[in-house]
Symmetry: C2
Subunit: 206 residues, 2 copies
DNA sequence: GTCTATACCCGGATAGAC
DNA sequence: GTCTATCCGGGTATAGAC
């Protein structure tokens, strides 16, 4: 898209540039096909330079994932107001989830197509993920106070719906067009409303 | 694990052996890290041999995906009887979906972690996928006869729930233990029942 | 239908100069 | 903090012999 590479980074903040560039590159190639070598080429530095800032490829990807999770968390709450009733906020969260996945494919794939090991030596990353889950969880708790078991199942199910719509959308090889995104966003939101309405069934036997 | 390679294939049916071996290898390494070279090594043939049977890596993977989709389709209907009411069958399908993803990780990842292009030159693959979606669709149609719009949304939502639980489970780096699988299977099934119960909400405005 | 041999490309990562 | 140069490993795929 941008025909000229202005090389603005050669003696600037390479570390930040690496993260920025990684996001761009992942958006084009996908996480799995992302490489340090190509990233270096694009930034106009040699392949050795990035290793002054990140021990290895995984460490850079973890940094990208942390940034991604922060943006993701904001996307979840961006579509509703704190004064909205919980159901509406939850529906909006599911919509935001799907929209984020579609519009920020690169970031989404780093979060969910990467290891994201709790075990892994990246506690910041795990923490960022738990923050996001907390956003959903507290909203559900508000919806069904005094019934922790149903709340937990409901939170799970909402996450699954959102994640399902999101991944079905993003697993397609071609980027979905904006109309398809809106469509999926709306369906996810409505499915959440339907689920909440029927959530008494969660208490019944398996 | 198996210290002795019996080389049973050297002059047998290499084509079938390649598909079998690919499934095994993908189970261990994941689709993306699967390679023709390592597969050849395991089967005790040279790297050139597979290319007599498959034009390239993608063609072999497509063959694996077709097989995977057939097994997947069976897994969807295996947990319920045709005489069960539609709701129960749908809940069982969601459960079967999740169980398949967890227990046949390799096959699942080939289907959904691969291109699966409709465009791609593998019509057999697309056909197999549509067969699977048909299984779900016809069952939903049975549940809400005369309301095609709701039926379509409901089918979508059920697929999203099942897919969401499945991918959240399988995206973890460690294989989930059997108890966790059962847990997720049950939750997916109950979520589907809740969704169906609340599905009147699907008709309402976005 | 399989093997031998090879061409080719790409990636990760490092040592040591500057 | 970046570069030059390089090692090492791995993958895809092909040509030509048997």
């Amino acid at each position: 898209m941008s025909p000229e590479r202005p090389k603005p980074y050669h003696h600037g903040d390479l570390k930040a540039a690496l993260i920025d560039g990684a996001v761009e590159l992942i958006a084009e190639r996908g996480v799995r096909d992302f490489s340090m070598a190509e990233l270096s080429r694009r930034l106009g530095v040699t392949v050795a330079a990035p290793y002054r800032h990140f021990a290895d490829r995984d460490e850079l990807l973890a940094a990208v994932a942390v940034r991604a999770l922060r943006v993701f968390g904001q996307a979840l709450t961006a579509q509703s107001s704190e004064t909205d009733p919980p159901e509406r906020r939850l529906a909006a969260m599911a919509g935001g989830y799907v929209r984020f996945a579609a519009q920020q494919r690169a970031l989404f794939s780093v979060v969910f197509g990467f290891g994201l090991d709790k075990k892994g030596p990246y506690p910041e990353l795990r923490q960022a993920y738990e923050d996001v889950e907390g956003t959903l969880g507290s909203c559900v708790a508000e919806l069904c106070p005094g019934d922790a078991d149903t709340a937990e199942q409901l939170a799970d199910a909402i996450e699954a719906i959102a994640h399902g719509y999101a991944t079905l959308l993003t697993d397609q090889p071609e980027s979905p067009d904006p109309a398809a995104v809106d469509h999926a966003v709306g369906r996810a939101a409505r499915a959440v409303l339907a689920l909440i309405r029927g959530s008494a069934a969660l208490r019944e036997g398996a």
